[in-house]
Assembly symmetry: C2
Homo-oligomer: 135 residues x 2
Amino acid sequence: MPELPAAADQSHLEDSDHSQCQSILQLLDRVGDKWTILLVGTLADGPVSYNTIMRDIGGVSHRMLISTLRGLERDGIVERRALATAPSNVEYELSPLGRSLIGPLEEVMKWIRKNQQLIESARSVFDAEANPKLM
Amino acid sequence: MPELPAAADQSHLEDSDHSQCQSILQLLDRVGDKWTILLVGTLADGPVSYNTIMRDIGGVSHRMLISTLRGLERDGIVERRALATAPSNVEYELSPLGRSLIGPLEEVMKWIRKNQQLIESARSVFDAEANPKLM
DNA sequence: CCGGATCCGGCTAGATACTG
DNA sequence: CAGTATCTAGCCGGATCCGG
């Protein structure tokens, strides 16, 4: 079983403050992950089948989608249900825990959509100042 | 100028839907970034000097801190002010745009702190079910 | 003290091919 | 269709040295 999250790498065990911190950093990686945020967004409205997800999220590879879903399932954020239909089909949906994540992440998405233009122009200005000659 | 964000890799230019999407994905990486989230948190209370940041955030390397700060400065989220003191000193603070990010990210941090235990036990359960023999 | 540049090992994630 | 396994290139990030 390769490729599951890799969990605990802390070699020399550390005092509780540090391991507490480690755990938070780990969760930041999970929750802040690009695909996690997008995935929670597409699952927010109810159960969705695998290929629908694949279609809805542009630019995610098969491999990344599967492994992100596994990770979220492991963390108790999504639930997986295999339907016994003729062409095999699988549905994913948010658990209650996962649904409680919608609010916070939706805030972040709203912020991004609202400030997208602003940030892009800030980048242009910054790049121009840093490299006036190249413009 | 190595190592700045790398901005635009899209070779064959794409229709506006796709480039729009690309831009959002990019911002997700910036905003969802572990160090970004922690950094906005420590800058939330006002201007902070470089070494204070370094001390406050455990486990960040010099290189990552500098490059994250550069990226955030480029995006107009933090402002950098070099003080003309004897041992040179630099302060960073959130721009108005950066301050508007505090709310959304604070929501995420609250969610993490609240559900940390829950997630860890979900992981244990999942791992036990997946590998009953190894337990 | 701040921060840029370089080197380099390890991990990430895409492509691909194979199972049920 | 859903999922797994293998191979591989490219990036990320830590260590380190230098220069302001």
